[in-house]
């Protein structure tokens, strides 16, 4: 099936099998391997991306479901010299160890901060319930998101 999707600000046109998962299209056809696969069942959140501005789990969507939509992945969140505040926060607060869950965590947290620029610790912990991290015990992820929230608020962005 033919699809047209804005991916990280660029129009991608492709002819894909109907059953091709969105995550596989992004990773294998477009080379955007920052989005990871952790469970194939939408329970771990490693594959979280933004589709039309909403955080979604790309392992349980077909590529064709993104047709006509707009996708944003971790690769478009920031540049080396202009990190997204969440990327900077995860770096500052040691919000990652093996890094496998990190892109998905950042994409989920980005939606939280969009909806709630000043989340409490409890609100942060609730917001990342759909993302599993095995390394950090979550505390430094909470610190990272708080760090980012503060930076965003202070910059007025």
């Amino acid at each position: 099936m033919k699809i047209r999707v804005q991916v990280n600000g660029q129009l991608e046109e492709a002819d894909v099998p109907p059953r091709l998962l969105l995550v596989h299209w992004l990773r294998e056809d477009l080379g955007l391997t920052g989005t990871h696969i952790g469970c194939e069942t939408s329970l771990c959140g490693a594959c979280t991306i933004h589709l039309d501005g909403r955080a979604v789990k790309s392992c349980t969507l077909f590529a064709v479901q993104a047709d006509g939509g707009s996708v944003k992945t971790i690769e478009a969140m920031g540049e080396a010299d202009a990190l997204h505040p969440l990327q900077a926060g995860f770096w500052e607060a040691h919000g990652l160890q093996c890094g496998y869950c990190t892109p998905g965590m950042i994409m989920s947290a980005a939606q939280l901060l969009e909806e709630n620029p000043d989340p409490s610790e409890a609100e942060i912990r609730h917001a990342i319930e759909g993302n599993i991290c095995r390394c950090t015990g979550y505390q430094q992820i909470v610190d990272a998101i708080q760090h980012a929230a503060k930076q965003v608020r202070e910059s007025g962005a």
Partner: protein, 782 residues
Amino acid sequence: MALKPVHVGQPIKRREDPRLIRGLATYTDDLKLHGTLHAAFVRSQYAAGRIVRIDAKAALGMPGVAGVFGYDALRGQVGPAPCTAILPDMAHVPYPLLADGRVLYVGQPVAVVVARDRYQARDAALAVEVEIEDRPPVVDLESALAPGAPKVYDELASNVCWHQKPEPNPELDRRFAEADGVISLRLVNQRVAPVPMEPRAIVAHWDDGPQKLTLWSSTQTPHGAKQQVAVCLGIPEHRIRVIAPEVGGGFGCKIPTYAEECLLPWLSRRLRRPIKWAETRSENLLATTHGRGHVETVEAAYRSDGKVTALRGRTVADMGAFASMLGPAIPTFTHLLACGPYAIEAVSWEIVDVYTNTMATEAYRGAGRPEAAYIVERVMDAVARALDLDRVAVRRRNLLTKDVFPYTTPTGAVYDSGDYETAVGKALQGFDWDGARAACERRRAAGELVGLGVATFTEICGLGPSSGASELDRRGTWESAELRVEPTGAVTVMTGASPHGQGQETAFAQLVADAFGIGLDDVTVVHGDTDVVTHGVGTFGSRGLVVGGTAVYMAIQKLVAKAKRIAAHKFKTSEERIELADGFFTQPGAEWRLSWAEVAMAAHLWNDPVPGEEPGLEAVARFEPPGTTFPFGVHLCQVAIDRDTGEIALERFLSVDDVGHVVNPLLADGQRLGGIVQGLGQAWCEEVRYDEAGQLLTGGFTDYTMPRAAMFPRVELDWACTPSPLNPLGAKGIGELGTIGATPCFVSAVLDALAPLGVTHLDMPLRPEKVWRAIQAAGEAR
């Protein structure tokens, strides 16, 4: 430590992170080699049985399929999957890479399908018909020892894999006879799944030109994989390069070299194409090694003052259906650490390793020590209850005092250093234990179920010396480091301690930068490629800094010595007179000084040769640990239980840990916090379960309950410090303490909360249903 601490001891943010936070890191499944074919495994649906036929005709006719292979294709060409823990008198049946006519557990690879893409491979795997004549499996650990139980292996006398009989011990018998009391406990340390967020992944590429195999694998031990694949496939090891690219967590289950890691190279050599396999999560829960799986019975003799004088224990350990690489040896750590941090004078321990028709168990964060800590902590609580003494007081009565180190336990462990009482005092004060106790009493009086938990524990880290290594291991317990210096003075570190999230690229750079007075950006740490790092062992057993970091330190000393000889030659003095500080070589009383970069340039230019020296500046070192280190920790927590639902709220958790000197407190906190939540996961919610037919009931994240963020309060952290005398860094290791202390601490708190109801025992995991039933049963009993 001789290094001047500019970076060492500081919370330096990680040098690994820029690639990881931008999604630019390369994990194994991110690799894309031209012409890659994808593998998918056909796995046994039965826990025990005989393979009647494998019919691949339909699969072979499907689009993109390049081949379907069963054991018949491998026969005579490959060895069994690696097992290095073949203990004396162990009943061991080599485990084939694919099922050789019989199946031993659900999830065992029976055949492998290779196709152009992973969808085609999985479609074809589903089309392979496997007929199995099934038979009753043996699933439950203790049932496997019953007379007449079905046997996993017909050719063995029983399901016993290995038996360590308790030694006759008159001293122990005397202590039991003279005891004021004896308690006995039966404790289940349930089977859990390590669940690294990156499942296993492998790419194998046999290059037929140079006749060389490159194997990318998500492994904790690339050098081990190289050696083991060489043995299994008969490929000379110098024709094998193993690369562990970015590795997304391990927790022990990526220590062993798996059957799949041997099969993919075989396929690549046969088909002359790169072959890729990325494990699904359901495969990961089915067929990546599990951890724990012990049932322990223990008797403790005690005096009326709370002193525990002797332990008599028995570990029955579930090996699963085959001996994994290290699995059979893991319960020996439970025996070795049976005394914990306590001055218990006599111990005897029986170990029975048992085969069952389930996935194999293997090292899992802590590996034998969490089981030991769980046992002795439950003993301390039980003794306190029996004597109506405070649980902390009983522990203090038994803790080793700081004047006894080095201390040899009755089990033969030599504890290097410690000051347990100081750490306990710090923890109690930080928690306001007495205040918390009083607050709990007030809440209890108001009808709440609240409780406090305590665990004091030690563990064994940085394993060595290598005297215990066998030829099966292919390498000892040392670790390697190589330092290469550029003419500018920039340093590349090659470490054999290949990390998978721990942060060696940062911690080792801190050591090197401080030694030579250079910036962190002038240091690059390379790991995980056996063609670049010539020899190494890996990251496990809390050894990264203790053993790998010490090797880096030793290589630094070699570089400093040569640099001093170069400086001495240049300024016509003797090397003994030269000092190195802040990146400059100087001689007290002399006017000259030479920067690290100037020495590096001189070493490469060599236009003023130093007699007896070779040009260049590089050093190789291997650290052979003279003994093992023993961190100590105190964990305290507070829980409240919902009487109507059995749900537990973890209200507070405090951890005070002594790991010796800390190179990077930010990273060290990360290790503690992650380990604590992982340990709480076992206590609270995690469990691998099979039904009577050996079908896995916890094959996905809907059924295997992982710890999630909202379950936890902010963990409070503090340090104590008694440096290890066994390495120049004074480090003791930190990776595993969370899963050792947090688990018994949580159970202690829950049982304390339920104590007013008369509940004295529950086995993990303490899920709401189990707690609710205990509350209901207690209510009915009244």
